[in-house]
Amino acid sequence: MVERKELSRVTIRFSGDSGDGMQLAGTHFTNTSALIGNDVSSLPAFPAEIRAPAGSVPGVSSFQISFANEDIFTPGDQPDVLVAMNPAALAANLQDLPRGATIIVNSDEFHAASLKKASYAVSPLEDGSLAGFRVFEVPITSMNERTLAETGLTSQEVVRCKNFFALGLMYWLFNRPTEPTLRLIAEKFGRRQDLANANQLALKAGHAFGETAEMFSEHYVVRPANLEPGTYRNITGNSAIALGCLAVSQITGLPLFYGSYPITPASEILHELSRFKQFGVKTFQAEDEIAAIGSTIGAAFGGALGLTGTSGPGFALKGEALGMAVMTELPLVVVNVQRAGPSTGMPTRTEQADLLQAMFGRNGESPVAVVAPATPADCFNMAVEAFRIALRHMTPVVLLSDGYLANGSEPWRIPNAADLPRIDVQHAEARPGEVFRPYARDPESLARPWAVPGTPGLEHRLGTLEKEDGSGKVSYDGENHHRMVLLRAEKIARIAQDVPPQEVWGAEEGRVLVLGWGSTFGALRSAVQRHRREGRSVSHAHLRYLNPFPANLGQILGRFERVWLPEINLGQLALLLRARFLVDVRGYNRVAGRPFGINEIYEQIGQLYDAAPSPQVR
């Protein structure tokens, strides 16, 4: 008799060869879990190479999902369950598993040739090295073949269905309905009825195997989470940025122009936006990163919403043109989906090490606004914010996402288009009898007017040479230059009055403040939550506005005995905060190409907490 066991949170990882369809299986599992009301969070991990040698460890592709009956903030640290489609997948993931974890292996693939590719001398299924884990050997390949023997598909097509067999098994194990996936398969393979049929058969067979094989003594239920009422869908950070920018285009009535050059992990923004032609969105796949931002600046000059997106190396290439946007004071949003650097680094791995590049990576005193989303769904909000700031203050804004946000997904509460915040934009108009001054400033924001070609009477010449204050004419006067440098700096500084005050989660003062920015949000919030439940005075403040900082940040930092700032870099925000507020911000810095784990952060906070007020913290 199979028992039903209730769990509050489960993390599973699908893992196999790049060609095994693990991303697809993981995505289906995520969507189905969300559909039945769990809070979910997912993280794909795939090799930088499109097709590393089949069956090799570098060719392993994984997809991790965490689902729970409560609010969760991360895809989980360690998988409770690993599905390993071949020996390489086992080898690549075993070190991440806690003792006692469940491992489901595709035993058909544990033959000599595959074992050799994964550098196993002896099969790990036979040498006792998996003692301490609950291992289930399931002949997925052969059962899938038998299931599809009568379908008339080629053997290659049959093999490609085995991810659905594995998925079906996992659906049984965790009590998920198969209907949503069956329906999506039908939609996806609409034209190839035979393929749709085969994938559906494989899914059902996997599910039936779980039910009948008597291999598993229990299966699990994770009840729906108590999320805020509304309509939800799953969204990745990159999609959320695309939708946020599309939304801005709709609410401002300005056409969106996206100039970009393909780069991992930002390319999906280009893919997404290129679908939205019916909204008048113009996407331009430029010849290089420089042309991408150049075209965007040209479009912004023409009165469009100028958006360009890239990752670290591309952002470096855009530096000079970004300085041009600073000098010409045009509204522009530059998305940098950060990845591990320097140079080409690890393209598919996440990092937060471009903050200082965003702040200072240009010649001269060249201030720009910088904002950073905290979660995949928050990418929508911060894309809207980035444009709001750019348009209101006539400045380039850098939106710092990263690989983890870009590919990770979580439920997004879908807004109604009609309820989106208004953003009013006015292009300048000529006033009779007045000479147009392109660098005259709004007294409050210091923004200059946005005068677009085609407007009679406002003909003017922008340029990258220093501007005379007010008139915008070329000026080499030193005193004027000093004034303009200060004006450009002050214009950015005043944005602080136009962003929401920094919020603190937990007590407003106390022993430890955990600070963070960007994609570390989930791990930090979960770890702080655990400490607070255990009665410790730990609070969390997560920065989404990095330049300028929210006006109340300095006061907040002063109210805690310890300020602790984990970053996936060597202390870039800590450097800025120390310089700005003279506060002894302690860093915790690991750049291993992956997000922080909750346990890791929990333990670090614990050590810091116990040691406080002693200053000896690693």
């Binding site: 799953n234 010849e287 150049g294 040209g298 479009a299 085609g454 009679p456 340029g463």
Partner: protein, 341 residues
């Protein structure tokens, strides 16, 4: 592009900025011809934009009373392309030089031309870096001694028109600063071309490369050493119009028209509308002193225009699927969470 006819004169095109090129610079003539040509087009001033990069030539937008953008080195085609894509109603010019357009910005120039964005690109070729005070440029001749090549330049020069033709630019022409009438005609034809127009202007730098084009462009022998291209006409040249070009295959040769052995049908007749750029490429390879240097329109063909194709896709997409933000938000699987109780 707006076609509202407006009556403007050269004066209407002049900005309030003092022109600051060296006295005698060829740039003055080009500026003046652009200012004369524009009113002919009947386009309102506010619908014209001049975009430039960096260098002596790139100061030109400051001197025009239209909209303008003096950008960064080599990148003018990128700004102009983005502007034209966002605003197909504007008449957009790119002003560049041999260093700006063919060295640091060569890549962008190529791609703007192969896309056929509706831009008018004027490349001032003086075969030298002027603004940085006299280094060799990508069009400087082999062996040239300059500040950065005291032992002689060992870079092989690039041919601007061959680059444009290789990119299959739909309009490719060459003119020279000291023949203002010819320049005016070429500029007008470029302005009226539908798609990317690329014009190379031989421009004399009086300070760092004075007389670079004298060998064929000096008034005393210009008719002898240049040939004006005219569509459908043989390439006849010479003060007495007594010489012409004959081509066997793609090998040109100079022939005398009074040669009794010459048959008229052997003469090369200029065809700027040829889809295949091979012949235009051959013309670009005709250099002094062996050949007269061709001036005029090398190629003028029609191909779909990039910014219009972009607009077309948008119109078609709108017909198929009206914009509905809520529908896009709800794409894929969505689910409802209801308030409990």
């Amino acid at each position: 592009m707006s076609t509202t006819a407006v009556k403007l004169t050269r004066k209407d095109m002049v900005s309030d900025q003092e022109v600051r090129w060296c006295p005698g610079c060829g740039d003055y003539a080009i500026l003046s011809q652009i200012q004369r040509a524009l009113p002919e087009l009947g386009i309102p001033r506010e619908n014209i934009v001049f975009v430039s990069g960096i260098g002596c030539s790139s100061r030109l937008p400051y001197y025009m009373s239209t909209y303008g953008f003096h950008s960064i080195h080599g990148r003018a085609p990128t700004l102009a392309s983005g502007l034209k894509m966002a605003r197909p109603d504007l008449h957009v010019w790119v002003i560049t030089g041999d260093g700006d357009g063919l060295s640091i910005g060569a890549n962008h120039l190529l791609h703007a031309m192969r896309r056929n964005v509706d831009l008018k690109i004027i490349l001032f070729n003086n075969q030298i870096y002027g603004l940085t005070k006299g280094q060799y440029s990508p069009t400087s001749e082999f062996g040239k001694k300059t500040k950065s090549s005291p032992y002689g330049n060992i870079d092989h020069p690039i041919r601007p028109l061959s680059v444009a033709l290789a990119a299959e630019a739909t309009f490719v022409a060459r003119t020279i600063d000291r023949d203002t009438k010819h320049m005016q005609q070429v500029l007008l034809r470029a302005a009226r071309h539908h798609g990317t127009a690329f014009v190379e202007v031989y421009q004399n730098c009086v300070i760092f490369n004075d007389g670079a084009f004298d060998e064929f462009a000096d008034k005393a022998w210009r008719t002898e050493r240049t040939v004006l291209l005219e569509h459908g006409q043989p390439l006849v040249f010479g003060a007495q119009r007594d010489k012409a070009i004959r081509a066997s295959g793609v090998r040109p040769e100079v022939v005398r028209l009074d040669d009794p052995a010459l048959r008229r049908e052997e003469l090369l007749v200029h065809d700027e509308q040829r889809e295949d750029p091979t012949l235009a490429m051959m013309l670009d390879r005709m250099t002094s002193p062996e050949f007269p240097v061709p001036l005029g329109v090398f190629r003028s063909v029609q191909r779909p225009v990039y910014d219009e194709l972009m607009e077309q896709q948008i119109r078609q997409a709108r017909l198929r699927q009206p914009p509905d933000l809520d529908a896009i938000f709800r794409e894929g699987d969505s689910w409802e969470i209801k308030r409990e109780g």
